[in-house]
Symmetry: C2
């Protein structure tokens, strides 16, 4: 059986859960509290970060991008990386965009302030950081909207890891109630389509203790 | 002909140059000053970051990891990613470690303070940032040393993208004169071996205007 070490509201863990679900692979979940720096978890991933995937007889597979490439190699159907070289270049570019750039400029800061600080450590969030991250979110949503307007899916004609990575980020932000959907146009339509997919149902049904999402969070029609 | 858009003392550009050289692919270089946000360059890579590789008849390939995966797919010999699934997991894990974590915790800060601020913009570096990045460097060099002690190359039995990514980071830091080699043990031996490889000769011969490296920089015997 597969075991995924994940963390609550961690966009990269959500991304891997969505890949596993798209590929119809079953898995168990184990929650890691990365901020506790558990020595046993550090042996699985010296970087101390979720997600880490474990499969019987295979070494631990640490990190969202590494897991995504591993699953594409070992379970090639459905193909989520692209069927030709130029398609894969674009999907991998967007993977870096959403898992690294978007995450660093938006999601990590908002998750830190609104969830880890406020809910886990009972500290007030810092309004300067919240403002900056929300401004970045508006710019990133515009880019998602631009992609959704010019293509059927974010990476091209078919759904790909790019859509999963973007939806993973946005689902965390939407849980935190910080997405201004009234201005989101094409990005909103694309995300509604993502919310209807089976790969998101498990995530959208989950609730965190002491933190409720807005009413529209799991509703595919907003 | 291939054209690589790169930036001076950019570790990710250096990493791609080393891959191209290991695969015996010829290329021209174009220097981008990413801080000027040239609109034409932004159409090649919306993230505005070097490196970007262009090949006749192929779309622009932006980002070090995307380029590395692209070159492994299109020019598979010599194989730098690993010959089996578990080998590729480990090389990709280390790629993330060196290109993202090491770069973010060490190289970006030192390049910003000691090169971009001091040499390009004529501003004083910030000593608090320098101290933190140098402390991180010491911890990262220990990890390189640990890998070099337990394996023939950093990613396993053969040279891989992991060695190239690590050497690219370290070559930038060594140019800046911030590596304390007297404490570096196994990491120093491994880097001496890297400095002897043909793929590093072009880089080690290059000099930046108004900034000289230490005397040992290009010497494979230190």
């Amino acid at each position: 059986m597969r075991l995924l070490h994940e963390a609550p509201l961690d966009p990269r863990s959500r991304f891997v859960r969505m890949i596993l679900a798209e590929k119809k692979l079953t898995f168990d979940l184990r929650e890691e509290r990365a901020w506790e720096r558990d020595p046993e978890f550090l042996t699985l991933n010296p970087a101390g970060e979720t997600p880490v995937l474990r499969e019987a007889g295979v070494m631990a597979i640490p990190g969202a991008t590494v897991i995504a490439e591993y699953l594409e190699e070992t379970v090639p159907e459905p193909n989520l990386l692209g069927s030709d070289v130029t398609g894969r270049v674009e999907v991998r570019r967007l993977l870096g965009w959403f898992l690294d750039k978007f995450s660093r400029e938006v999601t990590e800061a908002l998750r830190e302030e609104q969830f880890l600080k406020r809910v886990i450590h009972n500290k007030p969030p810092e309004s300067r950081i919240l403002r900056a991250a929300k401004a970045n979110l508006s710019y990133h949503l515009d880019y998602v909207g631009w992609l959704a307007e010019h293509r059927k899916w974010l990476g091209g004609d078919v759904i790909s890891l790019a859509d999963l990575a973007a939806a993973a980020q946005i689902s965390v932000l939407d849980y935190l109630g910080v997405v201004e959907w009234q201005n989101a146009g094409e990005a909103k339509e694309w995300y509604a389509k993502m919310k209807s997919r089976p790969c998101m149902q498990g995530l959208l049904a989950e609730r965190i203790t002491r933190l409720s999402p807005p009413a529209h969070y799991a509703n595919p029609d907003f």
